[in-house]
Each structure stands twice: as structure tokens, then as C-alpha cells.
Symmetry: none
Subunit: 215 residues, 2 copies
């Protein structure tokens, strides 16, 4: 990046001291110019109307007033071309997930040094998604929970097939027709499934199947 083309930034952060500190640190590199500095999301959103959009936005999700997640959603809509980086203390899993789903492209901790923040901004604008690795771990955990590794309870293919039908909300009678066997057979398979999964109700089996992605 040549000194002649600094990247324009917005900072949204209620802690004025911290905000100024980051702004000064980033500007000192010569790579950035802070064209907006706001203590609330509302202020930043007003500024959008005035034009002159930034190339990247650093936003704290623990803001007073408007919910940080909501702010990210709106910024993503209003500034589709801008890089959007969340700068935060270590949040709970749910908040991280929601921020990502809202459209955040980077996720850094406030403890990150200015050099790391600067690198992250460039990274986001180059098509990457810099993330603190501990946050990344959380993301991957949730991610793989959505599609976890199949545990092996030794279910046979027929048992898996019937369990899958159960997960789809069908009752035994329907499954019998669907699979093409008698209801007695379905009954027997269900018993064996219960034994193998160590449950004793349909809902227990369905819950276990979905939680552990057995089907």
C-alpha cells in the first residue's frame, strides 16, 4: 500500500480513550485515515446518509443503545463493499455466531496490538477473514456441531433407515409402509435402536440422532 492511497476507516466504539488510541495508532502507520469516529452505532448510521462511505469499519459489539449485532446487519446492508471487523472482548459463543451471521468479516480481540489490527484490515479488504484463533476455535466447534462426526453405535443400515424416518416425524405405521415391511418389524428395529442408543422413547432416539448427526 502506497502512502498516497490510505484506507478510509470508521471506528465505532463507546470508549473514547480506546477509540482515539486505536485511531492514532492506525493513522500513524500512514496506511489509514479515520474518516469517522463514533461512540454509538446510531451516529455512524446517520453518517451513511451523508455519503463518503469508508472502506472498512471497526465496530465494538458491546455498545450502549442499539444492539451491536443489529448495527452490523444494517452496516452490512448499507455499506456492502466495506470491510466489517468486530473488535471486542471475548464474548460468549452465541454472540460470536450472531455477529458472523450478521455479516462481520473479521473478529479481533480488543487486546490485539495496532499492528495486528492494521494487518487485519488489509486482510479483510484482500478477501480474507482474520480471526483471533480462540474465536476461530469457537466458530469451528459450533460449525462441526452442526455437522458433527458420526459416533458409531453400531446401527445397521436398516436401523439407520428407520431412525431417519422417525426423525422425519413419522410414526411406526407410516414407516412400515414407507420401508416396505410390517409394523412388527419396525417395532423390532426400534427396540434394537433403543438398546444401541441407550434410550427408551422415540423422542430420546430422535434427539440423540439429531444431536449426534446419526442420520
Amino acid at each position: 500500500m502506497t502512502p498516497g492511497t490510505p484506507t478510509s476507516l470508521w471506528l465505532i466504539e463507546d470508549n473514547t480513550t480506546f477509540r482515539s488510541s486505536v485511531a492514532r495508532g492506525l493513522e500513524r502507520t500512514g496506511q489509514f485515515v479515520c474518516s469517522g469516529s463514533f461512540s454509538s452505532a446510531e451516529q455512524a448510521l446517520e453518517m451513511i446518509q451523508a455519503g463518503n462511505p469508508p472502506q472498512a469499519v471497526l465496530i465494538d459489539v458491546g455498545l450502549p443503545g442499539m444492539d451491536g449485532i443489529e448495527a452490523i446487519q444494517i452496516l452490512r446492508q448499507q455499506l456492502p463493499k466495506a470491510g466489517l471487523i468486530v473488535l471486542t472482548v471475548f464474548e460468549d459463543e452465541e454472540k460470536i455466531i450472531r455477529a458472523i451471521c450478521a455479516g462481520a468479516q473479521g473478529y479481533l480481540l480488543k487486546t490485539a496490538p495496532v499492528s495486528e489490527i492494521a494487518a487485519a484490515i488489509e486482510d479483510v479488504l484482500a478477501g480474507g477473514s482474520p480471526m483471533n484463533s480462540r474465536i476461530a476455535r469457537r466458530v469451528l466447534e459450533v460449525f462441526s456441531r452442526l455437522v458433527p462426526v458420526k459416533k458409531d453405535y453400531g446401527l445397521t443400515s436398516r436401523e439407520q433407515e428407520i431412525l431417519q424416518q422417525m426423525v422425519q416425524g413419522h410414526i411406526k405405521k407410516e414407516i412400515a409402509v414407507q420401508v416396505g415391511v410390517s409394523i412388527h418389524t419396525v417395532n423390532t428395529h426400534m427396540r434394537n435402536i433403543y438398546d444401541k442408543l441407550q434410550v427408551n422413547t422415540v423422542n430420546g432416539a430422535v434427539a440423540k440422532a439429531l444431536k449426534e448427526r446419526l442420520v
Copy 2:
């Protein structure tokens, strides 16, 4: 990390030249010792039986023979305590996702310098998930598409509570005791839940609750 406690590593990579190069580079730091160096996943899996498991594994997913994804799954099961880092060329999205779902905790490009690989290993063992930022971007994109939007079926708090109990595999009688109401009340709530979720069996409700993260 003191020089007296090097981290034991396995490298699984079919390109012998590259593998040796990485091994030498990592050992030269004094932080690591390559206790295993394999050109196929099969070889590594055999070694597991012999005991002496590594603290971390670097694996290429573009291996000949056994599918790299499958290898990761088995390694994750057999070496649950080991850090598992994928070292690869830039793969297609589907492969990245599957590797992560299989249990990979880090995802680096083969072009990464040894210093970055070394840092990544330490990072994984410290509870992080270092990822190349371009790969992270791909993950976030899929992620934000994959995570279901929490639909609002207008379940009341009591209904949510009872649905949650159902998901845990309890039967109505048990729920009545647990929640502290009569079984008739549980019955009524379940009816309303069925109406709202548009299902008519427990397993249907449980399935919907888990699939759409209602509980």
C-alpha cells in the same frame, strides 16, 4: 516453551521432499520433535496401535490412497487429545468444510513459512484454531448460510420449557413432576406446541426443535 520439552509431531504428507523440509524446519526451532513421518494415512493409523501418540499432527488432505477427510475422522477418534492441523493447497469449499467437520482444528496453506506452521501448532495446543484468513472467509460464508435463522413460532416460556424437557427424552409424566404441574397441564402445553410447530407427534416436535435450534 523450554527446549527441554519439545512437542511431539506427526507429519502425514506424500511429497517426501516437502515433508522432510517441513520436518527439518520445525525441528530446527528446538520446539518440536517429529516422532512420526508418513507418506500415507494408512501408515500413520497403523502407528497408533503401537502407542506413543503425538501431541499434534500435520496432515495433507490431498493424499493418495485413503481419503484425507476420512483419515482426519479416524485420527480425531483415535487421538482425541492431539492437535490436528490440515496443511494443504487451496482447496475447494466443500473439502474445507468436510475437513473441519471431520475434526481438523487448524487449516494452513502449504505455502505458509515454517515460522507460521510452528506458531500454529502452539496455537492449536493452547486451545486456538489458526486458520489461513482466506480459508476462514470461506468458512464464515458457509457458516452464515448454514446456521438456521431462529424462527419464531411464538412459543411461550412454559412451552419452551416443556419442549426442552421433551428434547431431553423425558416422557410427559416425568415432565409434569419436573416442571411441577399436573400431567394434564403438560398435555395442554404439548397440544399448543404441536399447533405452533405444525407437527403432531413428539418426535416431530423434538426434531423441529433441534433442527431449528428452538431450545
